[in-house]
Structure formats: C-alpha cells, structure tokens
C-alpha cells in the first residue's frame, strides 16, 4: 500500500482549470445530483425498517376508512366502488406524508453540520435539493407497491397494463419530489425544527383534505374547491385514478402541472438553501 501521502492531489482534481461556468453547469448539476441520489439509496439500503413502518398508515386508511365509507355510500364516485375511488387517493396521500418529512430532515442535517460541509463543495445547490427529492420519490415508490398490493387484495379492480402502472409510479415519484421541495422551502423560511413542525402540520392536513383524495371536488364548498384547483395533490390523484382505476382524467395536464410544480419547488428550495445553512 502506498504509505502516507493521501493528500497528494488526485491527478487533476485541483489543478484542473475551472470549466466555463455556464456551459458546464447542467453536466455538473446532473453528476452531483446523481452522486447525492446514490447516497440516499445507500442510506435506505442500510435502514429498511422505516420503509416497512411507513407502510402501516396507508393500510389503515384503506382498511378502516375505506371499508367504513364503502358502507355509508355517502360519496358520489361516478359509479365506482368507493374503495376503487379511494385507493389512488391514499397512494398520493402516503407519498405526501413521506415527502413532507424532508424539510425536517434537511434542518436536522443543517444542525449536524452535514449540510454546511456539502455546501462548501463545488456543488450547485439544486443538486442538493434534487438528491433529497429523489429520495422522497424512491421512498414513495415503496408505497406504490404496498398500496397496489393491498388494494388488489381488498378487491379493487386495478389496471393490469404495465405502462399505466409505470406512469402511475412516475407521477407518485414526481409528486413526492414536489412535496419534499415544498417542505424544504418551508424549512428555508422557518429555519427551526419547531416552527417547521408547526407549519408542516398546519399545511399538510389542508393539502390533503382540500384535494380530491377522499371525495370529488364538486362536493366541496366553493373556497375549498379553489384551494383544490391550485393543489398539485389533486392533479396527482386525478392522474392516478385515470391510470389505475380508469376514471375520466386529464393525465397529460396532470403531469404538466406536477412537473411544473416540481421545477418551481426545486428552484425555491435551492434559493433558500443558503439562508437555511446560515440560520
């Protein structure tokens, strides 16, 4: 083994001229984001218990809430059994609840010094945010499996078309990615874990209830409908219903809205990252 001297610069890493800032930016962003996504996967591989415990909540919703409301027949679902109507909503909800946790995680990493150290590397800030939202997406993917299997067992008539299932998985990943950036944006405004917890709770429930996850938009009061209209969760649920159980949907528009929301979320959270690291 070569003794000592680890500090001999790995060829070129330091002396290499800094690349032209703008042209190389997307390539650097992509490479850094990939590196950060990889460590998120490694972390998940080391601790799988969280993935299992996370599966409990959507199951409870499906079994308790779903079965109960199926009997009440109170919600107009356009002819679908309520459980069929509900399952895509619960899928989106469970992804939301996972994603909203990422703001707390990034504050925790700030307090631990992990974030500061990353920010002192030549890494564009959006790459740090993309890594986290990717992790949220992958964790949400585990929920897709759980909810789809449970739904099938409970007798929901799901699509068997692999393309539709893949598209559904994709919009769950994108939606979770967006809500993680929303959470990290709020973290950048709130700066402390306590405040974020308060704001997070104050915002998660309205996002969930002012959406079409549990009931159609048309049964809501007007102002809740207005919230639902700008709530990306509603678009995500609309696409999931269309893809998985075949209700009428605007899947193209839904994808557009969620992707746009994700882009805005990444930009906003990245812009506030410096403030978060300072706070």
């Amino acid at each position: 083994m070569p003794s000592g001297a680890p500090a001999a610069p790995p060829a070129g890493s330091v002396s290499r001229p800094v690349r032209a800032a703008w042209g190389a930016q997307p390539a650097i962003l992509g490479r850094r984001a990939a590196a950060l996504c990889l460590v998120e996967l490694q972390k998940m591989a080391h601790d799988r218990t969280e993935i299992y415990t996370r599966a409990i909540q959507p199951l409870l919703w499906l079994v308790i809430f779903g079965e109960t409301f199926s009997r009440i027949h109170a919600i107009p679902t356009g002819g679908k059994p309520y459980l069929d109507y509900l399952a895509p909503g619960i899928l989106a909800q469970s992804a939301l609840f996972i994603a909203i946790f990422y703001g707390i995680q990034i504050i925790w990493e700030r307090d631990a010094g992990v974030l500061a150290k990353l920010m002192v590397t030549p890494t564009p800030r959006p790459a740090l945010i993309l890594g986290k939202s990717f992790a949220a997406g992958v964790r949400a993917l585990a929920q897709v499996v759980v909810v789809l299997v449970a739904s099938a067992i409970l007798g929901v008539s799901l699509t068997a078309n692999p393309l539709r299932i893949a598209a559904a998985a994709l919009i769950v990943v994108l939606g979770a990615g967006f809500f993680s950036t929303l959470s990290m944006t709020i973290a950048g405004l709130a700066l402390s874990r306590d405040r974020l917890m308060g704001i997070g709770q104050a915002i998660t429930m309205p996002l969930f209830f002012a959406s079409n996850a549990l009931y159609p938009v048309k049964v809501m009061p007007g102002w809740v409908q207005a919230v639902s209209k700008v709530n990306p969760l509603s678009y995500q649920v609309d696409a999931l219903r269309g893809l998985l159980v075949g209700t009428p949907a605007h899947v193209g528009e839904d994808f557009g809205v969620v992707v746009l929301a994700l882009a805005v979320g990444v930009a906003a959270a990245s812009a506030l990252l410096g403030r978060l690291a300072r706070g």
Binding site: P10, R32, V39, K117, M119
Partner: protein, 287 residues
C-alpha cells in the same frame, strides 16, 4: 482603519512578509448577526504551508470567520481572499481549494465510512477510475481502513473526526479548514487527530487553518496563532513569540487569559498587540 501596519515598525516583521500569495487574507472583515457584531474589522493573514491556529474564548467569532472564508456566510464588509481568490466574487473556485471540517460532527451517520468518503470523491470530480484508490488512501491515512465498511453511527468521536478529515482530503485541498477538530475527544482521540494532521502537512505541504480551545495543542502544533476576542484579532505570532511578549515564564494559557480573560476592559481594537512579534517594548508595557 489601520490595516496591517506593514513596515511601520522596522524589525523582524518586514523580513517575514511573504513573497507568495497568502493562503488566507482578511482585511477589515466585519459580520453582524442583527445588532450583534460577531466579527469586527478583522485582519488576518495565513501563509502558505503553515499550521495557523485561531484561538479565542467562546463567542469570539472564530466560527463566523471560518464560515465567511468557506463561502457559507456572505462577506458583507471588508475583504477575504483564499490564495488570492476573493471569497465573495469567486466562491466556486474558492470551494475547490478548500477542505472543511465543521465544528459539529458532520459525517453522515447513516452511511458507512467508505460511502461517506466516496461521496466526496464524486462531489470533487475525482475521475471515476481513481475514486476507489483515492478513497482507500484517504481512509488508510486516517487509520480507518478496518472500519470503512461499518455504519458511522457506531464510530467513536475520534473515528468520526478522522473520517471527516478523510472526506476533506480526497480533493487534495490546498487549504484545510478545521473548526475545533478535537472538541469533545478524549486525549487519545485528540492526539490521533493531531498526528494525522501533522503527517499530512509534512507530506503534502498543505496549509491548515485550525481553531481549538486546547492551549497545549496550539502550543505544540501550530506554527503561528492569532488570538481573537470580541470579533477581532488581538495578537498574532508564533507560540514562542506570544509567550515571550508576555513575560519570561508565560504560558500560552497566560497569553490567552491576558487577551481574553479580562475581557471587559477598554476595547482598543488591539492594534498595537498585533505587533507583538516584533517588539520587546510591548512586552515591557504588558509585563
């Protein structure tokens, strides 16, 4: 404000003026948190290749200074340069020159040591084919080869510090910035960290900027020291010079107490103390 009064007092100081670009140069650096002035018109110069210690009581502004130098805080007033690069104007280039270990234990506890180091090889664009070798050597140099595949959560404090040094080294930094690298470590952990830093510096000639509250470390391991108090530098010199300036039997702790302990006396900005290297007159006045 008078910045470094170069050449004003004739004497040994002028001989020491480095011909090469300083590793760190701060002039009139000031940083406020709200109304609180954390760094107050700070002047500092670190020469290439030296181990430079930043000392001072809690709240003196050491970490704030470091956070400005590492581009984490904006440089609102005054100027800070790393190897001639302005920190505010060229943060990305500055970051490529730095290895940084923050005050908190900052390795990712949910990854293995190896994964922690490999992440940094990627973030610093170490070519793919060299990554494993670079990471392996950095871990070996920090004595962590055997522990590399364990999750960091199970590491001791000293091991985490050495892992963080390994992370900071993969880019071959020209300036290694260590904020209290031995805080909270037992004596064995402390001396292990310092042995590694010393070996690094000997083998690679990198510049090290370090803060510590341990006077014995500062005394034995730093080439030069700056004593900070209330946001500004009160004295600069080698440990021997600082002690000699205070009196024949002075200890470094005595120097520390002298500049920081009384603390609440008249705040004269410490301008004349900065000339402590060059003068016996100062020693006379202080003694």
């Amino acid at each position: 404000m008078t910045s470094r009064s170069e050449g004003a007092p004739p004497g040994p100081q002028s001989r020491d003026l480095p011909a090469e670009t300083p590793a760190v140069a701060c002039h009139g650096l000031t940083h406020r948190f709200g109304d609180h002035v954390a760094v107050d018109n700070l002047d500092l110069e670190v020469r290439p290749g030296e181990v430079f210690g930043l000392l001072g009581p809690n709240g003196a502004g050491k970490t704030t200074t470091i956070r400005i130098l590492t581009t984490l805080l904006p440089c609102a007033r005054g100027a800070a340069e790393v190897f001639g690069l302005d920190v505010a104007a060229r943060p990305l280039e500055v970051r490529r020159l730095l290895g940084y270990v923050p005050q908190q234990l900052s390795a990712d506890a949910n990854l293995t040591g190896w994964e922690n180091v490999m992440l940094y090889t990627r973030l610093y664009d170490v070519p793919r084919r060299q990554r494993r070798q670079v990471a392996g050597e950095a871990l070996a140099a920090m004595g962590l080869t055997g522990a590399a595949d364990r999750i960091v959560r199970g590491y001791s404090g000293g091991m985490i510090r050495r892992l963080e040094l390994a992370q900071a080294l993969v880019s071959g930094p020209r300036l290694l910035v260590l904020d209290e690298p031995t805080i909270g470590l037992d004596p064995i952990g402390r001396s292990e960290v310092w042995q590694r830093v010393d070996a690094l510096r000997r083998d690679s000639g990198m510049t090290v900027l370090v803060t510590t509250h341990y006077m014995d470390e500062a005394d034995q391991l730093c080439d030069r020291l700056a004593l900070m108090h209330q946001g500004s530098v009160r004295a600069v010199g080698s440990p021997a010079e600082l002690k000699a300036a205070l009196g024949p039997d002075a200890t470094l702790e005595g120097v520390f107490r002298h500049f920081a302990g009384g603390g609440l006396g008249d705040d004269d900005g410490g301008g004349e103390y900065r000339a402590v290297r060059s003068t016996r007159r100062t020693a006379g006045r202080l003694g």
